[in-house]
């Protein structure tokens, strides 16, 4: 004989729970913690002597208050070749006597104005870092994206190898100068 067991209908409970679940899935925003990472220099010590660098070992990029670009003293409108210029400068190794002696001495100086927009600042910094990541990735024989992934998590031994191999002998020397006070 079939006996009906008294039960609260719980078939719809799953639906309700799913609805809540979907709500949380949709509204959850995963925080964006990605960006361009830099290390600021130590505070200026007034007793420290000023170090002079040879002009040929410096790659100068300047941006004025109207976001116009000056690269090595020349105005530049189209930034598409800037990355390759920086790469050539880093890896010059004395081939061109007017460019850097070796990657260790090469410094990219980046100077902005107080009126430069953050958007432009990030765009140029992105290009400079792109040049360095490309050089590093080439040296360790991986793609740029793979290299950055390895650099983000060096706790893994494989990643650490890629990272160390890429950076060997090529420091990322980006000097971000204090912005000028008056727009020019």
């Amino acid at each position: 004989m079939a006996r009906s067991t008294p039960e609260i209908p719980n078939a719809s409970m799953a639906d309700i729970a799913f609805l809540l679940l979907t709500f949380f899935l949709v509204t959850t925003t995963i925080a964006n913690d990605k960006g361009l990472s830099i290390q600021l220099p130590a505070p200026l010590d007034p007793n420290q002597p000023i170090v002079e660098f040879q002009q040929k070992n410096l790659f100068t990029i300047q941006v004025n208050s109207s976001d116009a670009l000056l690269v090595e003293g020349q105005p530049l409108d189209d930034v598409s070749n800037l990355k390759d210029d920086i790469k050539r400068f880093i890896l010059n190794n004395g081939a061109d006597p007017l460019s850097s002696d070796n990657p260790e001495k090469a410094i990219v100086t980046y100077k902005t104005d107080r009126g430069t927009s953050h958007k432009r600042f990030v765009q140029i910094l992105d290009i400079i870092q792109n040049a360095y990541y490309d050089v590093w990735a080439d040296q360790s024989g991986v793609t740029n994206a793979r290299f950055r992934e390895a650099a983000s998590d060096t706790s893994d031994p494989t990643n650490k190898d890629i990272y160390d191999k890429g950076r060997k002998g090529i420091p990322m020397a980006i000097s971000i100068a204090e912005p000028t006070k008056i727009g020019g």
């Binding site: 409970m13 960006g35 830099i38 290390q39 505070p43 870092q129 990541y133 912005p179």
Partner: protein
């Protein structure tokens, strides 16, 4: 014959009574892991785009600083402001703020604190440079400019 008949009476439904439990478990998992935004951001946040992004290793060591034009311009003016947690702070207050943030971290990790600068595209370098100078003084020298990934790589 009777043997087979007996077998046919066995209940064949998949038990669904435990399904809500499973789903609730998932629900609780998401509710617990979801980090609700702690602060209301009162400055404009049109994050610039870039390609060479790096992920941060340890999220617990990251503290955010928002810079941009206030959303309520009639109340706070149009000049870009710095927001930390729920309040606007002045450039001169940054060292104190960094010290407070460092106190929240375990002692051996304090020097690894990273400041994520979430800066609006239209903010000017001047204020950001002032902030950087203060961060250097406060010895919080790891900085991340928060940038969103560019979808199309034009370079």
């Amino acid at each position: 014959m009777s043997k087979f008949k007996k077998k046919a009476t066995v209940k064949q439904d998949i038990p669904t009574s435990s399904m809500p439990d499973v789903v609730f478990m998932l629900l609780f998992f998401f509710m617990v892991t979801t980090e609700l935004r702690k602060t209301n951001i009162d400055v404009m946040q049109r994050i610039p785009e870039g390609t060479q992004l790096r992920k941060l290793q340890r999220k617990s060591l990251v503290t955010d600083l928002y810079i941009g034009e206030p959303k309520k311009t009639e109340q706070f003016g149009k000049e870009p402001k710095i927001q930390a947690e729920d309040t606007f702070i002045e450039v001169s207050g940054i060292i104190l703020w960094v010290t407070r943030q460092k106190d929240l971290l375990p002692e051996n990790e304090r020097d690894q604190m990273t400041v994520a600068l979430k800066v609006d595209s239209e903010a000017k370098r001047g204020i950001i440079a002032d902030v950087e100078t203060e961060l250097r003084k406060a010895n919080a020298r790891k900085v991340l400019y928060t940038v969103s990934e560019k979808k199309l790589d034009l370079n």
